[in-house]
């Protein structure tokens, strides 16, 4: 029986007078890839930022390995890799410098694998070019290089494949499969169709949009 990593119970979130979701349940266990579905503006990004603890605009409970999130937050963060819509790549820094700082922030990233990671995402030879001189896809690839360096248990990825070509996507898919085989798990949103071989769990945010909630 795979251990439950991240559990969300009766999550409720509203924005601008609109209920994005209510009574949302989600349990992400070891070895699972979850895809969050929903139209644009349905609250996918919001859900991800709630799950990783960036947003506090919600009601409900979050648990990490069965413990309340508030009590084990540090532990959770040290086992988390998050790549958001904004990738966290500074335009004025080179790929190498960007990764270097990320490694300092997140001890779960293995700094010694930075070179290899950049090579894997096809940025060999671009290590010392400031990111603003790179294309959008290349910039995103700097962030995605973290996937190759990560020892984190849970990956939360928000549209990681924007501006990434097919070969790149396939490589990341393979990486994710490898990650879940090793007992990790992934929560992601994407507009791309993932290859059929990936064991995919899905959750559609819109299914939770209608609420019977009695406002207290």
């Amino acid at each position: 029986m795979a251990q439950a990593l991240l559990t969300a119970q009766s999550l409720f979130c509203e924005r601008d007078d609109r209920i994005l979701f209510d009574q949302l349940q989600l349990t992400v266990s070891e070895g699972e890839i979850w895809q969050v579905e929903g139209r644009n503006g349905s609250g996918k990004t919001t859900l991800l930022s709630i799950l990783c603890g960036l947003s506090s605009h919600y009601e409900g409970e979050l648990y990490w390995r069965g413990e309340p999130m508030d009590e084990v937050r540090e532990q959770f963060l040290s086992e988390l890799l998050y790549i958001g819509h904004q990738t966290g790549v500074s335009a004025m820094l080179t790929a190498e410098e960007n990764l270097h700082w990320q490694c300092a922030l997140h001890p779960s990233l293995d700094a010694s694998r930075a070179q290899q990671a950049l090579e894997s995402v096809g940025l060999k030879g671009f290590e010392d070019v400031p990111a603003h001189q790179l294309s959008a896809g290349q910039k995103r690839r700097i962030a995605l290089a973290k996937l190759y360096m990560s020892r984190a248990k849970l990956w939360i990825l928000d549209e990681p494949f924007t501006a990434i070509d097919k070969i790149g996507v396939a490589a990341k898919e393979a990486l994710m499969v490898e990650h879940i085989r090793a007992g990790g798990s992934v929560i992601m949103t994407t507009h791309q169709d993932l290859s059929a071989e990936i064991p995919l769990h899905t959750i559609n945010v819109e299914h939770f949009a209608s609420s019977q909630r009695e406002w207290s």
């Binding site: 605009h57 009695e214 406002w215 207290s216």
Partner: protein, 249 residues
């Protein structure tokens, strides 16, 4: 909200509904007692209290100036503490209290400054003097304006409440420092002026009406705060069943 050592009313206070109904019951009392005390204090201070031997009758401005100055400061404290409670216990009502208090505090600070300035004219011969009290009241007004500006600049209600709470708390830490530094700066720059209000010993017939006015203004502005709070509760809880019931009939 797991800790149980807090008294029960604290948790009840957390419920907007309870808060709405209790303020509804309190408002008539505040209005009646506050209004009565205000009239008593006003007549007593203006007509019956003896005039000051040095400043004459312009001294009577004290019955407005000092209470508003005291209230402006305690409202700031209230705002910061309510903000802190909102931050720590995620109590919605506390956020609403903080938001309703801010404009009243600013109005009080303006009033304290205005009466201080008007008092300054016959006392010092000019409308404005960089006296320690007036200066620190001016800074307090700036702090209020900053809090209000931040609150109105942020669209999301919850984010606005949290941000202003942080700012109000930072201001609260700063108030004693500002007060001290301004007082010290003032003595450095104008050593020989006499203070506007600090009298060695004010006779009872002078300070009694002052006390009445302080209490009266606490009640009156408490009333104003409750009125604002109730509006805030209704707007923020507009989708709650009890609000619909209340307004639907």
């Amino acid at each position: 909200m797991a800790s149980s050592w807090l008294p029960r009313w604290f948790y009840q206070l957390a419920s907007p509904r309870w808060c709405y109904s209790i303020t509804g019951k309190l408002i008539p009392w505040f209005a009646a007692i506050g209004g009565l005390l205000f009239v008593i204090g006003l007549v007593w201070g203006l007509a019956f209290a003896p005039s000051d031997y040095q400043q004459g009758n312009s001294f009577r401005i004290i019955y407005l100036h000092v209470p508003t100055a005291i209230l402006a400061q305690s409202f700031y404290m209230l705002m910061a503490i309510a903000g802190a409670i909102g931050l720590i216990w995620k109590m919605k009502v506390a956020d609403m209290v903080a938001k309703s208090v801010a404009p009243l505090g600013a109005a009080l600070a303006v009033l304290a400054l205005a009466t201080g300035a008007i008092w300054g004219k016959p006392t010092w011969g000019s409308w404005w003097v960089w006296d320690a009290r007036l200066t620190s009241m001016l800074v307090l007004l700036f702090l209020y304006l900053g809090v209000m500006a931040l609150n109105s600049a942020i669209e999301s209600e919850t984010t606005a409440a949290k941000s202003t709470a942080v700012l109000a708390l930072v201001g609260l830490v700063n108030i004693p420092i500002i007060k001290y530094s301004v007082e010290w700066w003032n003595t450095l720059h104008q050593p020989a002026t006499f203070k506007i209000t600090e009298k060695p010993a004010m006779p009872a017939e002078m300070w009694m009406p002052l006390l009445v006015m302080v209490i009266a203004l606490y009640l009156v502005f408490g009333l104003a705060m409750m009125l604002r709070l109730r509006n805030e509760i209704l707007t923020r809880e507009r989708r709650a069943g009890w609000v619909k019931e209340l307004l639907g009939s």
